[in-house]
């Protein structure tokens, strides 16, 4: 049911074109408005006292000295806040067996990770609150810390939450076919052990919130750096016992999110609860050091996996045993079991094979909670799948491209249900791979690699196919009981001057959401994009929606915008028809003019129509509908998710003396369905790739055996900077989803999903002559030198 947007000569053809982003000019002039830029009268600042221990009973809190400090107004303990704020339990009904204990805004009697808030100090300035926090005396009795995921379930390991009875949060086993028989009869079985390090998002803007409770109005207003303002509205209302309609969450500019800012954080809820108690605005902006211990972590997985292939390189079976540790609590309300669940859903994803077994074991430990972060579970599943496929190819003496050609689902096979029971509506693995091979000039690269090797230079080529889950339906969270909207809405209105305002439930954190919406609305109504003003991120103003996560902005929010824009066009033409004495379908709107649809001849500018409707309605026929505002909502219904596909390639050089990896170039071909703004899509993919490259080469949160976080600063936790990053070539195949008029799927996470696997395969390609192989990310010089046998201790 797509509208064909392919013809570039159609009127108002903004969908598919690179048009400027309306908010970019403001941001380059430093006129953004992030939460920390907002100051309210009587505003206070809160700073948290955080546990220095991974696991400890709180034996007492003495705030007397802190309260004497200049500027300090109040100190709150967990017990204080528990009186005004109910705890939450982060489970989902459809993840059977998932359990997690109630979590409070501030720990009540026990701290369970280094960084968990144990008290809050409110003062007239942040500096004063920090000084006060240093004076709060907290008594601790140390408890044994659970830190190793693989021994978390051993009898000898203490149980972290007594009421749980064990450290297992969730386990899922998915079996399809007969894996053991396939393994037994296979020509080759290759197995490997993979590890993906604990990461965190390192959003440039730290988590930030400013809460203002107005007791006179009974209204709570919260400025919040969040991806899901409506979800947060619901959460604040529920846990602070307020009517939902009396909570307004506003997210203005947000300085990077990547999934980090879609969760409920105890310290943020505490700040809001404190505002309610004090009746004064309270601001909390995490400092960088506390970001490292309290922003969610992700990707902490250890996997044993096998692949079975026949003599022709056909994949017979995958067998995956995934372990992940989620820290001390499952994170509200999305839960921390989703990442492991995704590994089960996504392993083997691009390939047509019959026998599949995947298990995930999700355990608690005394570390920062983990949860959904850009490309949830994808980099893990893609690394396992593509790592094994490459190893199998090497074992068979087959080219890595050839083994993929033999196993990828054919482009004409769809719809298809995978062995993991994922339903694919329409993917383009072969077209994408062909395009990638052409873009990178694969044969020339192989020749360059061989030539370099003669000079003692070790280069590698790595390829990684992947699927990406986008446009989630209620099957992701809603059916599990979470109040997370899978539907989104858009209201589009024409004002007297003929300009258009679009109010959308999806949000902008830099992806270009507002540009994308302005293009769609401009095309749908028939005005130029500069005539469209987009408003997002205000729950009192925009239709209720899910916000921006899981690459749903364009596919869900964009479709709602298109449908509402088309509806508005229809109502405008109805009025125009009455004014011009013409049948509605003989008219069209182009570049802000009502025109004759056959000849394109201008009949009336929209500002004239606006003038008459709004100011001289007396001249219109009585009873003529004159609603120049329309709202539409959209939700997917035929498929639980709109899967996209893509393929990446990395070309790199390994210095076998130092273990250093130099990225030479990176390619990605991606099929996100209808492309609305090519430049924005390309840059989403590039940004995503670099985030994936960080995971492949640099990023790793280190804890010691006692649960102390060892590298909690940007000087110690390495992130990709400009100098180490390669240039990236991006290509596209367009297979629109038939679920919507627009046909857009998501593109936000593809880069991150595939890059680590491409780099891993490239490094192993470079190391293969040495009989060496790495599978533990990040691929630091030390790990590479160990693989080469140059370090062993």
């Amino acid at each position: 049911m797509n509208i064909p947007f392919g013809n570039p000569d159609r009127p108002n053809s903004y969908i598919g074109k690179t048009v400027p982003r309306p908010n970019a000019g403001r941001l380059v002039e430093g006129r953004g408005r992030y939460v920390d830029d907002i100051t309210l009268p009587r505003m206070t600042h809160v700073v948290f006292v955080r546990s220095p221990h991974a696991h400890a009973r709180i034996t007492g809190i003495d705030a007397a000295e802190a309260l004497k400090a200049k500027g300090v107004l109040r100190v709150f303990t967990g017990a204080d806040l528990a009186r005004v704020c109910t705890p939450w339990v982060a489970v989902l009904a459809h993840l059977k067996g998932l359990k997690s204990p109630p979590q409070h805004a501030i720990a009540v009697d026990r701290a369970t990770w280094v960084g968990e808030p144990v008290a809050a100090v409110v003062a007239t300035s942040r500096a004063a609150a920090e000084d006060g926090a240093a004076l709060v005396e907290v008594g601790y009795k140390l408890l044994p810390a659970v830190t190793d995921m693989r021994s978390a379930l051993d009898d000898a390991t203490p149980v972290l939450h007594d009421e749980m009875g064990e450290n297992l949060a969730f386990r899922r086993l998915h079996e399809e076919g007969d894996v053991e028989a396939a393994m037994a009869s296979a020509h080759k079985v290759v197995s490997a052990r993979f590890r993906t390090a604990r990461h965190t998002g390192v959003t440039p803007e730290p988590r930030s919130i400013l809460a203002d409770w107005n007791p006179a109005e009974g209204q709570l207003t919260v400025w919040h750096a969040t991806q899901a303002p409506h979800m947060m509205q619901t959460v604040f209302a529920k846990h602070l016992d307020l009517p939902e309609g009396r909570v307004r969450v506003i997210c203005t500019d947000v300085g990077g999110s990547y999934g980090i800012k879609v969760h409920v954080y105890p310290d943020e809820v505490a700040a809001v609860a404190i505002a309610k108690v004090m009746g004064r605005p309270v601001k909390f902006v995490a400092d960088r050091l506390e970001s490292f211990t309290t922003d969610i972590h992700a990707r902490d997985h250890e996997i044993e996996a096998r692949i079975a292939v026949d003599a022709d390189g056909r994949i017979l079976a995958f067998d995956v045993d995934d372990w992940t540790a989620i820290g001390a609590y499952s994170v509200y309300p999305r839960t921390s079991a989703i990442e492991g669940n995704q590994v089960v859903n996504l392993c083997g994803g691009p390939y047509d094979f019959a026998h599949y077994r995947a298990r995930t074991s999700v355990v608690f430990q005394n570390k920062t909670p983990t949860c959904q972060y850009r490309a949830v579970g994808h980099p893990i599943a893609v690394a396992v799948t593509e790592g094994l496929v490459d190893m199998a190819a090497a074992e068979l003496g087959m080219d890595p491209v050839e083994i993929r050609r033999r196993n990828l689902f054919p482009d004409d096979a769809y719809p298809v249900t995978s062995p993991a029971k994922m339903r694919f509506e329409g993917l383009s693995h072969h077209a994408s791979l062909d395009k990638l091979i052409a873009l990178m000039d694969y044969d020339a690269l192989r020749a360059d690699q061989a030539e370099a090797r003669k000079r003692g230079i070790h280069r590698g080529i790595g390829i990684a196919s992947f699927i990406e889950l986008t446009n989630p339906s209620p099957f992701m969270y809603g059916i599990g009981g979470a109040r997370i909207s899978a539907q989104d809405g858009c209201t589009v209105r024409m004002d007297p001057d003929g300009s258009v305002v679009a109010l959308s439930g999806v949000t902008e954190q830099g992806q270009g959401t507002e540009a994308m919406l302005s293009q769609i609305v401009a095309e749908g109504v028939g005005v130029t994009p500069d005539k469209v003003r987009v408003i997002t991120g205000d729950t009192q103003v925009t239709p209720y929606g899910g916000g921006t996560w899981a690459s749903r902005g364009a596919g869900i929010g964009g479709e709602a915008a298109l449908q509402s824009a088309l509806a508005l066009k229809d109502s405008i033409l109805e009025v125009a028809g009455a004014m011009l004495q013409a049948p509605k379908d003989a008219l069209d709107i182009r570049a802000g003019q009502v025109v004759d649809s056959a000849t394109g001849e201008p009949r009336m500018p929209l500002e004239e129509l606006g003038r008459i409707v709004y100011f001289r309605g007396d001249t219109l026929p009585k009873g003529l509908p004159r609603e120049l505002v329309q709202t539409r909502h959209f939700i997917t219904s035929d498929y639980p998710f709109a899967f996209t596909n893509g393929v990446q390639a990395s070309y790199l050089e390994v210095d076998t003396e130092t273990g250093m990896v130099t990225l030479l170039k990176h390619w990605c071909v991606e099929d996100c369905g209808r492309i609305i703004n090519p430049q924005l899509v390309d840059e989403q993919i590039r940004g995503g790739i670099v985030q994936g490259l960080g995971g492949a080469l640099f990023e790793e949160i280190h804890y010691d055996a006692d649960g102390q976080l060892l590298n909690g600063s940007m000087a110690d936790y390495l992130v990709p900077m400009a100098a180490e990053m390669p240039d990236m070539v991006i290509g596209h195949v367009e297979t629109p989803t038939k679920e919507s008029l627009l046909g857009a799927k998501g593109a936000g996470e593809a880069g991150t999903a595939g890059a680590p696997a491409a780099v891993m395969n490239a490094i192993n390609d470079a190391l293969r002559p040495f009989g060496a192989q790495v599978t533990e990310m990040p691929f630091t010089p030390e790990r590479i030198l160990r693989a080469l046998g140059k370090i062993d201790d």
């Binding site: 970019a24 430093g30 953004g32 920390d36 440039p204 590039r686 940007m714």
Partner: protein, 166 residues
């Protein structure tokens, strides 16, 4: 407080071409002074330990990390932030190139990135892509992947050189 260490310091400086006099706490960082006391929220505080470059501003002609310099040290200095550089049009071409190339997404790193890029461009040569990457490697961007930023800076360098030659 002893006389030897006063906790408040009087400073006089120019910020974005305007004279400013203030009494600041001795421990006040320059970025906090600009943001909290002067309301110049264009430059951002992100890591507050000198690694990310979000707080990069221009002090006496050099790009400086506002989180590593105390306001007290800026006594007598000539300080420019993105607001002032925008008002004078000093980085207009660079800003336009950033917008055209979508060399920003969330925009949080952008003010610091612009100041750092302008420092490189002010040398008057056309830097190579590698030199641009090296020069910007103290400015963290999580959104863009850097390539668009490198493209924008390179484009402006070439355009400025072309104009200079004409």
């Amino acid at each position: 407080m002893t006389e030897a260490f006063r906790d408040r310091i009087d400073i006089a400086l120019t910020v974005n071409g305007e004279p400013v006099e203030a009494r600041v706490p001795a421990g006040r960082h320059l970025i906090d002074f600009l943001r909290l006391d002067l309301g110049l929220t264009g430059a951002h505080a992100s890591c507050e330990h000198g690694v990310c470059g979000a707080c990069t501003i221009r002090v006496d002609g050099e790009s400086v990390r506002g989180c590593l310099m105390l306001a007290a040290q800026a006594d007598g200095a000539d300080v420019w932030t993105v607001e002032g550089l925008s008002d004078t049009g000093a980085v207009r071409d660079l800003q336009q190139a950033f917008v055209e190339r979508n060399a920003l997404q969330c925009g949080f790193c952008t003010p610091g990135m612009l100041v750092a890029a302008e420092e490189l461009l002010s040398r008057g040569t056309v830097p190579s892509r590698t030199e641009i990457r090296e020069h910007l490697s103290g400015n963290y961007c999580r959104c863009t992947g850097y390539e668009a930023i490198v493209d924008a800076v390179e484009g402006v360098a070439i355009a400025r050189a072309g104009k200079g030659a004409a």
